[in-house]
Assembly symmetry: D2
Homo-oligomer: 283 residues x 4
Amino acid sequence: MASNLRLTVSCPDRKGLISALSSFISMHDGNILSADQYVSDGGTFFMRLEIEGDGFGLDRDEFAGAFVPLARRHGMDWHVSHTDTPKKMAILVSRYDHCLADLLWRWDAGELGAEIPLVVSNHPDLAPRAESHGVPFHHLPVTGETKAEQESRVLDLLFENEVDVVVLARYMQILTPKFVDAYRGRLINIHHSFLPAFAGADPYRRAHERGVKTIGATAHYVSEELDAGPIIHQDVAHVSHRDTVGDLVRVGREVERRVLARAVRLHLEDRILVDGDRTVVFE
Amino acid sequence: MASNLRLTVSCPDRKGLISALSSFISMHDGNILSADQYVSDGGTFFMRLEIEGDGFGLDRDEFAGAFVPLARRHGMDWHVSHTDTPKKMAILVSRYDHCLADLLWRWDAGELGAEIPLVVSNHPDLAPRAESHGVPFHHLPVTGETKAEQESRVLDLLFENEVDVVVLARYMQILTPKFVDAYRGRLINIHHSFLPAFAGADPYRRAHERGVKTIGATAHYVSEELDAGPIIHQDVAHVSHRDTVGDLVRVGREVERRVLARAVRLHLEDRILVDGDRTVVFE
Amino acid sequence: MASNLRLTVSCPDRKGLISALSSFISMHDGNILSADQYVSDGGTFFMRLEIEGDGFGLDRDEFAGAFVPLARRHGMDWHVSHTDTPKKMAILVSRYDHCLADLLWRWDAGELGAEIPLVVSNHPDLAPRAESHGVPFHHLPVTGETKAEQESRVLDLLFENEVDVVVLARYMQILTPKFVDAYRGRLINIHHSFLPAFAGADPYRRAHERGVKTIGATAHYVSEELDAGPIIHQDVAHVSHRDTVGDLVRVGREVERRVLARAVRLHLEDRILVDGDRTVVFE
Amino acid sequence: MASNLRLTVSCPDRKGLISALSSFISMHDGNILSADQYVSDGGTFFMRLEIEGDGFGLDRDEFAGAFVPLARRHGMDWHVSHTDTPKKMAILVSRYDHCLADLLWRWDAGELGAEIPLVVSNHPDLAPRAESHGVPFHHLPVTGETKAEQESRVLDLLFENEVDVVVLARYMQILTPKFVDAYRGRLINIHHSFLPAFAGADPYRRAHERGVKTIGATAHYVSEELDAGPIIHQDVAHVSHRDTVGDLVRVGREVERRVLARAVRLHLEDRILVDGDRTVVFE
């Protein structure tokens, strides 16, 4: 069975774009399995097409050559991926294991169509967890003085492993603009509050002090500004006056891992397109 | 400003359908505002297109003539509606007013792009409610003996008012197959349980006896079999041992009106296509 | 049938408080219908008791006299209410009608055990809505210059009507500390965001700009600081990139009215005790 | 630090029960940390008390002797547990690992105050999972002919390990009345539908065929009748026409593990009292 294709496109909106794209596929005997489309208020056209590989007239090496003239004519940003070539995903963690454990369990269960060539951490604690799933674990400790150097070594590891997407699964280090830039739009963080509430440190403690009745979690792409990148997914849980900070942490873990897992799956299936500070999510 | 068009299509799936449809629009200088598409497991293709009226080369009278050859070639079921021609919606009620009150409030608030030419009831109680919104109220009482006759009179009223869609907002009468057939796919009921649990009478009492921890509501198209038609939308609320049957009724009212309102809005915006016993809902 | 009593108590925690309270009830032949209790981290004891009026040995006039010695001994803040004496609730509105319409509908449906002696607004628009439910409507317009004077007139109206609780059902005026103080712990506001996110003006527009994937609403007691008072209840709804600011407003209305109605019902049933900047909610 | 006590009581309702219970505690210098109470429609009184061990005048061996006269006078069913004596919980599984993995992760994270002396399965597959958490795994295969014998061996293992509570974490065998009776009220099952909908086999396939828009999971105590025992907790997730049976399974796993974990935690904290076919859950 041939690999299917996922084509994502964004460009200035104009008449005839769906027709141009679908006709291009048809012309090459392609069968469109699913199509999602959206035009933003700002006049940008977004489309995601899933094309059956079986019977499609363009093979992997020919696609770009055939598609570029059309893309150029309409000023398209575009990306194509192949379902038989799973993305390479690295997971960065510190000491909390709930998001890592959940991602690895889902990966084993076949929920995530990805390879996980490595887990990187600034602490040694989670090595057994990664290794029990057969994933190499790299311990790169960091101090105030070695921050730049440690981050370079992390980046080197990611490059060596040809990593496509980096997941910060409660990685408690702020990344430099250089790192953010290297993985812009491919660097997913989970923040343990419903942003923009409680950006920054210690959101559960602050939520408890404020006496909120819902807590939440936010998965977002990382940008230069802390906890301010494009939001991918959010969810909440109800809490009550009886819940201590510790209860919020426990309940929150549940929300965090669920929200992060969904964001990761959406990214791996090429369902997220970035629209400035916002995301277009085709579910 | 010209009226926009909403085109819904279903037909056996084959290659090139999106291209055929979008090229037809392009050929007539149409701008596609939104496109949703789905292929069922059973191999049926479904599509909904919203086309900008401004600049579109086919006016209202010309569309069918131009589209029929394409539709015929692919064996399409299709329907076109125009955003400046709101659907005519009748609401059938008995004595409970929460769904009626909610629909009428939303209508006043401009949430529902519909006309409401009449409310029909087998009881006189809700006349003031309808009339306070300026909607004519018809009281057609029914007994075991007059059931067939009363229903005929209801149907006559609907036909006279050229009603497009009928909403059973807690109408406590079972309709005959004749009625169901006349408004198949355009007859929406709200059932006060998460179907298929507690189909039939008195679901809240039965839910309480069973000791469930969630109650729900289901909006569905009516079919010949009681509470078994295609489901449009469902939602639930959490309840506890403290909740009496009366509490379930109160909490349930909230869910019922929310679920019904959403189903009605989806129908009015031509976002629901029926796929046998199931629905395709393009949100 | 005699009226039941609701007794709420808070005081410094110590051993024997539940015993002291329940024995006091027992000693006077009272039957406790429900009891809820909580001790905060800060060491404050909170309790709510519902006592059957039938057979209780203390009548309305005797209760305080009998209870005061116990209350004094433990330094209790306490409040007793009688289920046959509904609270008097005033609703303040501006132009948005969804919260008002919902509260009035629930009131008519018997969900709220309260009297509504008046609706007050700085705009005339919602007079017909209030009057269709038989509730007197007072139009007290306000300008920058007349703010203090208008507020005094509102307070006069509330005092004349012996109002127990004031609901700001999207009342678009900031109240002075004098007003807040007069109804501290009895002044409920609905804010159209999940606080502390998007406190202040225009939360839906700001939520849209930020690209959040959930929006929410918060019911809280009003304090001197804008949108910072003790939170009573919060809920959220999921939104997507497709939702315009107008969609957020529509979806948000649904959440606002639900959250406000719940907070109002909890308050009317004496289920909320204020604990500094937080609330204890016995559901 | 002394161990706290949790006392649960049910008996026919009458005046003075809270007073009698709390005075008993006070008389022995006990401090009540939390108290929950409920009277059912059927006139049964339920109470849960958490008592500080520090300073309490009755030690573990003395409690029963001191309490029995009071319990007898009111016809109380009662149970006391001590927070420093965690319950012994056995987990029975077949081949699906999501519920097991989740429970073991939570156990490691300290969310569950229990010991897990063993995991039992009719298949060998999940041995590594249990053993990676240091929990002994017993493989007891079963066929139609050996069913009674295998179940006896399971029961023997549970008795040998002094197991207090048995969790069926997707154990795909129907238990005999003998087993059910041995662990009545201490035998928790997770069913992968919102009961009473889709009781029995293959709920996701049937849910897909019915075209429901929500799927759910139900944690309940096991009774003789299949999927009909007292419900502890339920939750749902929204699904759409796009979701295949496989998607329902994936989404459902998420709901199942969340619902089961919550039910288990509630049971371990003595927060559930059985009221005939229903449960009283003090959260």
